[in-house]
């Protein structure tokens, strides 16, 4: 399936705008196919399907929004990709092909060489990624030191270059400072600099702006977009905030109860959401300037250890039909590039054939 890339509006600045390469790279940077990650507890008697057959593709210069609420499995998906699962969890099926290599088949040693250099991760709390005891210089220099073996002057220049790239003012003396001397926004940018230091082709950002002020968040997101435009890095943005998705992402994957229930190019997702959960999410977000009552999904997200039969969303779905209760739906592909895991979508091949309660 073709998930974006050259079919999308090529003039939009968010696309892989490598000048001169109109066809763009058709080889995706990352292909996740049918990924399954389970958590085992109580001596193996209890299995939680944290990631249940998730598939998506990501090309150079593209941003994928991985959207879901707590417990949806979005963070576990990312951890599965980089091989940083906790001991109780294991990838039990599927593959993660990164630049042609299947990461699920690699040893931890091999993954360590890839992590930090070719795949970088940015977390929500910058203080979780920064060591309070080391200077900024030391922390930003580390990936370049180990992976690219830079030393001395070229190392210092590289660090300054990176700090400038993330718009830290006066990098020459900032880099001698410690994390606690900087504001939250700056720290997060330094984490970004560290992430970029190894020259990665994929960056996974897990809710990096949740703790930031609104204007700082906007600056940070603009920065990420600019960096992506310049370096062509592929970006996975994990978030529950649809506004960030609207601003940053080229395509969106919506997760619920460990399953990828809808996958679509961003415009198609907002204009014509196919899955009732996606529609509900879009309806639940307040829009500036509108006082319309928010659509509230009844009930709560399910307990992954105790999922209902059939479609995991059916107990809360306003449009559920009897089939939803007994049979779990598969992926249905639609003409506009969307894929939805919903019985109601089966047989509809036209974009816009299905209307829901929340249209913009």
């Amino acid at each position: 399936m073709n998930m974006g890339g050259p079919d999308m509006a090529p003039h939009s600045p968010r696309r892989s705008a490598r000048p001169g390469e109109v066809g763009a790279h058709l080889d995706p940077v990352l292909t996740v196919s049918d990924l399954q990650t389970h958590f085992f507890s109580f001596g193996g008697t209890r299995v939680v399907k944290a990631v249940d057959r998730v598939s998506f593709t990501l090309h150079e210069g593209e941003t994928l929004g991985l959207v879901g609420e707590s417990g949806s499995g979005k963070t576990t998906t990312c951890l599965s990709i980089v091989g940083l699962l906790p001991r109780a969890a294991r990838i039990v099926g599927g593959s993660v092909v990164f630049e042609g290599e299947d990461l699920t088949r690699k040893s931890q040693r091999e993954l360590r060489r890839i992590r930090g250099r070719r795949i970088a991760v940015i977390l929500q709390d910058p203080m979780a990624s920064l060591n309070p005891l080391f200077t900024i210089f030391r922390q930003v220099a580390e990936p370049a030191f180990f992976h690219q073996h830079l030393r001395g002057r070229s190392l210092r220049e590289r660090v300054q270059h990176l700090l400038r790239a993330v718009r830290i003012p006066s990098p020459e003396w900032r880099m001698r400072e410690y994390p606690h001397q900087m504001s939250g926004g700056m720290r997060q940018r330094i984490v970004g600099a560290i992430a970029l230091a190894g020259g990665p082709s994929l960056v996974i950002a897990d809710e990096p702006t949740t703790n930031l002020d609104v204007t700082i968040q906007a600056q940070y997101l603009d920065l990420l977009k600019d960096i992506q435009r310049e370096t062509g890095v592929a970006l996975i943005f994990v978030t529950h905030n649809l506004g960030i998705v609207a601003k940053m992402c080229d395509k969106v994957a919506v997760m619920y109860a460990g399953k990828l229930i809808e996958r679509a190019p961003v415009r198609e997702l907002f204009d014509d959401p196919k899955h009732p959960y996606t529609r509900a999410l879009l309806g639940a977000v307040p829009k500036l300037g509108s006082k319309e009552p928010l659509y509230s999904i009844p009930g709560q997200p399910p307990n992954l250890a105790n999922l209902p039969a059939g479609c995991s969303f059916h107990p809360r779905c306003p449009e559920a039909v009897p089939r939803c209760v007994s049979e779990e739906p598969g992926d249905f592909h639609l003409g506009d590039g969307s894929v939805a895991r919903c019985w109601l979508v089966e047989g509809k091949n036209e974009a816009g054939a299905h209307r829901g309660p929340t249209r913009s």
């Binding site: 109580f42 509230s296 009844p298 009930g299 709560q300 307990n303 105790n306």
Partner: protein, 302 residues
């Protein structure tokens, strides 16, 4: 308005099932050895009169002084672990001695814990000069070596079981106070405490309803770890002759009385009481460790 019917019941049912699973898991991981030892010792102490073969304070009829344990040359079946320098049955004295150790250990810890927790809460929650006074007192207290202090007090008020309990309580409350005060300082900033204050709750109410229940975990763990210390302290006091007065047997006292015999070859007078002290302290330490691991992580999850 959307009410939430079934889901909340599901939540409590799930919680119940989860609790059952965690109870089973807890039982499986429990320190069986420690529980067996402690349980056994408690039974022994409670039923000492029934279990002990002889009166611990009187010489055994038909036995000599310094009879060895029954498996040795010259030992008897009636005095399984031998007799002491007065001809009293060692085993019976050990059994009755368990009473002293356990009662003093547990009660002393209770007294120390109560005083310490109260002081800690006052210092942590009320703060200000109350905090300063209490902290300076604990500083001074801690500067004194515990055993010496205990001896001094025991010499002053005279030995008796209850005096010893109170003295040990008075000596060991300070470590409690410090730790509990630390907990309370953190708790005080928690939102639910602030909410109670904003709602108009009096200080007393906040302490009773919000602070105290949440320090109980720490207090319990501290208690289980302190019991061992108190028991050793009691044994030390008995050893030095200022503990529980005779004729009530106490393990420490048995050690003291038998000091000279170790070199003379009558090892059973000292080894067995010593082993008992070792056993009970080991058991309480193991239990305390297990308790700490069980209770603390949950505390952190709040």
């Amino acid at each position: 308005m959307a009410t939430i019917p079934a889901n909340t019941r599901l939540a409590s049912e799930r919680a119940a099932a989860g609790r059952l699973r965690s109870v089973i898991k807890a039982v499986r991981e429990a320190p069986q050895a420690a529980i067996v030892i402690l349980g056994g010792l408690m039974l022994v102490a409670i039923f000492a009169d029934l279990i002990a073969p002889h009166d611990p304070t009187l010489p055994v009829q038909g036995a000599n002084v310094f009879d060895p344990p029954f498996w040795m040359e010259g030992g008897r079946a009636t005095t399984l672990l031998g007799t002491d320098f007065q001809g009293r049955d060692i085993l019976s004295r050990l059994i009755h001695g368990a009473r002293v150790s356990l009662i003093v250990g547990l009660m002393g810890t209770l007294v120390a814990g109560s005083i310490g927790t109260a002081m800690g809460i006052l210092a942590g929650y009320v703060g200000g000069w109350v905090d300063q006074i209490i902290m300076r007192v604990t500083d001074a207290w801690l500067a004194l070596p515990a055993i010496v202090f205990a001896i001094f007090l025991a010499a002053m008020v005279g030995p008796s079981m209850w005096n010893i309990i109170v003295i040990l309580g008075a000596v060991y409350w300070t470590r409690y106070a410090r730790v509990i005060r630390g907990e309370v300082l953190t708790l005080r900033e928690r939102e639910f405490v602030k909410l109670a204050e904003i709602a108009g709750a009096s200080k007393l109410r906040v302490i009773k309803r919000h602070i105290l229940p949440n320090v109980m975990n720490t207090a319990t763990v501290l208690a289980s770890l302190t019991v061992g210390v108190v028991i050793i302290a009691e044994a030390s006091l008995s050893f030095l002759g200022v503990g529980v007065p005779p004729p009530q047997p106490a393990w420490g006292l048995m050690l003291s009385e038998a000091r000279s015999t170790l070199m003379a070859g009558q090892w059973w007078l000292t080894v067995f009481p010593g082993l008992c002290i070792l056993l009970i302290v080991l058991a309480t330490q193991l239990f305390g460790d297990w308790l700490r691991v069980r209770l603390d992580p949950q505390l952190r999850n709040l």
